[in-house]
Symmetry: C2
Subunit: 482 residues, 2 copies
Amino acid sequence: MNVDWGQVAEAFARVLEPRRVVRRREELLVYECDGLTAYRQRPPLVVLPKTTEEVQAAIHICRQYGIPFVPRGAGTGLSGGALPEENAVLIVTALMRQILQVDIPNRRVVVQPGVINSWVTQAVSPWGFYYAPDPSSQTVCSVGGNVAENSGGVHCLKYGVTTNHVLGLKLVTALGEVVDLGGWVPEMPGYDLTGVVVGSEGTLGIVTEITLNILKVPECVQVLCADFTTIAQAGAAVSAIIAAGIIPGGMEIMDNLSINAVEQVVATGCYPRDAGAVLLVELDGSPAEVDEAMTQVQQICREQGARSLQVAKDPQERQRLWQGRKAAFAAMGKISRNYYVQDGVVPRSRLPWILQEIERLSRQSGYRIANVFHAGDGNLHPLILYDGTVPGAIEEVEHLGGEILKLCIQAGGSISGEHGIGAEKRCYMSELFSPEDLETMQQLRRAFDPDHLANPTKVFPTPRTCGERTWAAQQFPNVPVF
Amino acid sequence: MNVDWGQVAEAFARVLEPRRVVRRREELLVYECDGLTAYRQRPPLVVLPKTTEEVQAAIHICRQYGIPFVPRGAGTGLSGGALPEENAVLIVTALMRQILQVDIPNRRVVVQPGVINSWVTQAVSPWGFYYAPDPSSQTVCSVGGNVAENSGGVHCLKYGVTTNHVLGLKLVTALGEVVDLGGWVPEMPGYDLTGVVVGSEGTLGIVTEITLNILKVPECVQVLCADFTTIAQAGAAVSAIIAAGIIPGGMEIMDNLSINAVEQVVATGCYPRDAGAVLLVELDGSPAEVDEAMTQVQQICREQGARSLQVAKDPQERQRLWQGRKAAFAAMGKISRNYYVQDGVVPRSRLPWILQEIERLSRQSGYRIANVFHAGDGNLHPLILYDGTVPGAIEEVEHLGGEILKLCIQAGGSISGEHGIGAEKRCYMSELFSPEDLETMQQLRRAFDPDHLANPTKVFPTPRTCGERTWAAQQFPNVPVF
């Protein structure tokens, strides 16, 4: 492709303020990667619209010149969804940060995509409400990016991920049309296009307004930290809690390696360093409900062999228990030069099996793998520790990550719980979906983007980059069936 | 269209058992309408496949002859989604009634589309689980139809409608391809095509397997029946209960006209005949939680002027309180020769306004309108009472129903909460959605069904049948915004 980028930049400068059209090499640096820093590409041009009209104008210019575009939110994504392309404009929504409406009686907030996740809760907390999806990056990631990746968080076990909290969207399609999807009430007739766009990773267009559902802050919250000799015991406790009909707000497991990394960095003092695993269980609701459930949860943990139990009842204690979990990824830097975080899902009943398999892969490969995960959802975050200065290490680690994903598929699970597919995992899509399933998705994509301009190299595999892969028709061989 | 139906029937008889290819006039009678009995059309041919392969073969035959098809489940739909067409094959899934898998540890059930809604709960109740969406017709309606219409029910306030409980689908597309959508874990990468197909009313293809999520039966359930002098008081109680952070399992209002119809038919003895409205509130959870919330709800009802409060704590009493609500539609037959049920949604805060407006329409038109509704969701079911033997009555009643839908749109709501659009309401779609929004849906439809064979005359408006309508760009003029 032979593009006169000077000419294109001038076209953008006619519809945006010139300082929101970025071409200088040093200014482009910051846009070279998102949270998946192992993948880098300098974009030829970055534009920062502020309104729906400006986004529409930007897409029209791309169409006019036949140039693809890559949408980017706050750039905190972990699967390279916002990784630039050599010949594509990067359209950044970070300056679209207005909270447009707060409608407390109907529990809705309308925001622009650049609004930071935690701002939503701040805006509605005076009335006792909050916005539920809480990625660990929630103080820096944007709602637009959350919508693109269908982000989750530690409290998504009970309350669901982003798609469960989006009522409606304004979208500029890849064809440059402005459409309103969904509405102000939860279920709308016609096709659920809101649900399609949430999690579409910028491949259908750019979202410019988002109507979010907000929830009442629970009257009472308690957090339990239980430590176990083995991770298997912690896993059994998770199953038993769910089996008892209790749905905690969040339920997280950290293994010994993670505990030690965390205690070395943030020194919470909460997690015993010799524990095989700690289990964090957050319960919310009315005081009576929480007290009753907490008694049951403690009983279950003891039955499953918990060595000690700590219950935090005030916000400070709760924060201390959660602090280590929230810092877990960052803490890996203390015990390893580099780490690679994977994001896979298995049906909850397959957790013990997959943890054993990951341990086997770790032994065989010689790489340490830390496990920090949303246990209640079966959403794993294995962290593979490596030294990026060793030649060939990154390739080996990526291969190892791929092996873990294949195991997730084998267990009837998925290759992404909340981080998306992006640039990183698209080659594994053809192991999860049949050629017909993928072709059906492409049909939908072509309906929105016939010219293939919207984030064209993400999410879906191509034979050129991924080679030919065989899809195993029988996907659920190991799932127990009654 | 000139079709040799004898020849087409022979083609079907080669892939299905001949007795599952129906052509005899008297046997076709039963398929002339669904639950919307005001609309009738005898189909030229009815086929009843039993497997995915047979559905695929049936669609291939339709494609071969260029004949459209209309899918039908149990035929209980209320918007004419399964209304036959003069030149289309009716493909009925009623014989596809196998429960394929029950997977208790992962809380999933896989069923064929003809399985009756209540069978799912029956299948899992030995383990203490149930399937949440509960249309009033749940003992006769099928899961396939529920998926097509994205059905709700009285317990959908807390637990959501069908789409919130479907993990995955096997679909034979209108192109005759078999695809697997979604999976065995709640969030899958790629586009959420499961969400698109749920509620698509048979316009994309025919679903042949459905993976459902099941829930643990709550430990404790209590139902409160409160009666009020005015419906406005009952509405205010609903708002206050939600504002207090309580989310009941269900929360229903019946007005005076409905109360009297019900008491005349089922004589529950629970609903005072002179009440302006009764409010039914079902709370579920742990005993402590339910007791606490029930105390609060009773307090709120008293503050809003409740005249009397009855609490049912055992299953028999509960059933008695619900019995009238579940029989409400049928009971209208006792006080009116015919009734027409409408299904609209408004943001909860607009309930008092819309009820006033419906009362105004009733006064102006001279038609009695009973209100029975899912108050917690803002989902109205106005029942317009009329005498079908009076010339012109049905047209007037349809017009009146349309006026109510327009008011719902004006309030920022929707024209269907749970009954779908079907044949009945498609002309109102262009008042809810802009031309661009509708065209985007058509793009998606064409991706699945380029030849426009799947239920072609449903859901979407056409200028020929609906004329030109003007879409009011400003949809939410009356919604209070803070």
